[in-house]
């Protein structure tokens, strides 16, 4: 497993992140959506130097892996005070692997509770389609922003209906929170 060798005790939440790569085929064939080459991990930083060190180490690790796979890694802080690590890679598999690597590194250092979500951007429709992966519950939900604070709920429900068989989708619709103005 190469770079995943460290995580012998796999977190159940992480295993489910990879469901997205299998669902990619259905997404393309049934819905006409393809990965837009952008993914991100969102977490709330701690103002402790230990946390900074871990993030820095994870970042360097990700950078070295990214160098091999050809991914581009950038970082951003948003207005809510959340840290975004953005992975740009045309291949969904590489992007998922990159996000997984970073997340599991943070988890292993004991900062798993700082993880908020992972975001994967897809294209093929009028508006971008995001698959949000919530780390706490280990489930996905669709998010289709249409500008401002608006979102296309009908499209999201359609995506749920079509992908339910392949993706672990959050069944409680009241938890389908948006990520407006996502920098991916």
């Amino acid at each position: 497993m190469g770079i995943f060798g460290k995580s012998k005790l796999k977190q159940p939440a992480d295993e489910r992140l990879f469901a997205l790569t299998t669902a990619a085929v259905t997404l393309q064939v049934d819905v006409g959506l393809v990965f837009a080459g952008k993914a991100a991990l969102v977490f709330k930083p701690l103002s402790a130097s230990a946390f900074d060190d871990v993030v820095k180490a994870a970042d360097e690790l990700l950078d070295s892996v990214a160098h091999d796979s050809g991914s581009k890694v950038t970082r951003e802080t948003d207005s809510f005070g959340y840290e975004w690590v953005i992975v740009g890679d045309p291949e969904l598999e590489d992007a998922v692997a990159g996000i997984h690597l970073l997340a599991s590194e943070l988890e292993q250092q004991g900062f798993g509770d700082r993880l908020l979500a992972a975001l994967f951007r897809f294209k093929g429709e009028e508006h971008p389609v995001y698959w949000v992966y919530g780390y706490k519950a280990g489930v996905f939900w669709p998010f289709v922003p249409t500008g401002g604070q608006e979102r296309d709920n009908a499209k999201e429900l359609e995506l749920k209906a079509k992908l339910e068989q392949e993706l672990p989708i959050e069944s409680d619709l009241s938890k389908w929170f948006g990520m407006f103005d996502a920098p991916v």
């Binding site: 969102v42 709330k44 948003d78 809510f80 005070g81 959340y82 509770d113 908020l116 979500a117 949000v132 919530g134 706490k136 604070q149 979102r151 709920n153 009908a154 999201e156 429900l157 409680d172 619709l173 009241s174 938890k175 389908w176 929170f177 948006g178 990520m179 407006f180």
Partner: protein, 309 residues
């Protein structure tokens, strides 16, 4: 040419009267039985219930607003909402009620108040966010119809004896548990070898409560249909209320409009509010199923010669 009025539905009115008649019959039987079984003990209890009912009736607007966390807004704070309510009130020939907002993402609205002069309509911020102005107008007209139909008065009367039965059930249970209760003033010959009085009262009360519960709910559903009809009459466009209902009670209503990061910050990181769903269930209870309301509205729209999508 005089046009046909759409405000009345003869079938609905007769069903409403029939339900009310059944409820009245049930209450009369209940009262007769109670007076025969326990004569004196009943008087203070009826006084309590009358007091409660009056309190509820007179404070209904303030109670409901406070219980739902609604705050009354001034025309300066919500100019569009106020303008809309004013227009609809002018149409329906009603005094303008208090206008209130509830700060929650769940799309919902309600009306309350003992009379049109002491009424209030409240809408949630989720409703304002999700619905178009025409749809909001349809919902407001529905709520104003509740005010015009005096639904608080009707339902307070309808549930009066149900309250009494509920209270007696509780007293009956306590009496049974502690062995005393209603027994203090009964004559000994009336209860020598039969079932204890408290048990009889308990049984009757439970039965009355159960039947009245069903009847009240039925009546409440009829009142909803009547208010839907009223909304169609006031706005002249039932299709807007139809699309509003679909948005409010469909699946879409549950999907939040907030940002995940915002919510996480408010709820001590990752604890997502769970009371959202309970609230909808609470407010939508006593309402007829969505399909039936839509079918009725479509019928009205056809009568009016309006397009139905």
């Amino acid at each position: 040419m005089k046009r046909k009025s759409y405000g009345r539905d003869a079938g609905l009115t007769s069903r409403m009267l029939f339900t009310t008649f059944l409820l009245g019959l049930l209450y009369v039987v209940f009262a007769v039985v109670l007076f025969n079984v326990l004569n004196v003990a009943l008087v203070p209890m009826i006084l309590i219930v009358v007091g409660l009912a009056f309190f509820q009736y007179y404070t209904s607007d303030k109670l409901a607003l406070a219980a739902s966390g609604a705050r009354v807004v001034t025309p300066e704070q919500a100019p569009e909402l106020h303008a809309m309510v004013e227009r609809l009130c002018a149409m329906a020939d009603l005094p303008k009620p208090k206008v209130a907002m509830i700060d929650t993402d769940m799309p919902n609205a309600f009306a309350t108040g003992r009379s049109p002069k002491h009424a209030a309509v409240a809408v949630t911020s989720g409703l304002m966010r999700r619905l178009d102005p025409e749809e909001i107008e349809g919902v407001l007209a529905h709520e104003l119809s509740h005010v015009a139909n005096r639904d608080v008065l009707v339902m307070t009367f309808a549930s009066f004896f149900a309250m009494l039965a509920g209270l007696l059930t509780r007293f009956g249970l306590y009496a049974g548990m502690f062995g005393g209760g209603f027994g203090s003033n009964r004559s000994s010959n009336n209860n020598q070898n039969g079932v204890p009085v408290w048990l009889a009262v308990l049984a009757i009360s439970i039965v009355v409560y159960a039947i009245s519960w069903v009847l009240i709910r039925t009546l409440s559903r009829y009142r909803e249909f009547a208010a839907d009809r009223g909304s169609a009459l006031i706005t002249g466009a039932p299709e807007h209320l139809m699309s509003a209902l679909q948005k409010i009670s469909g699946q879409i209503a549950v999907i939040p409009a907030q940002d995940l990061r915002e919510v996480s910050a408010m709820n001590a990181f990752f604890i997502i509010p769970t009371n959202v769903r309970q609230k909808t269930a609470e407010l939508f209870m006593d309402h007829p199923p969505l399909e039936k309301r839509l079918a009725k509205l479509a019928e009205i729209a056809r009568e009016m010669g309006r397009p139905v999508s």
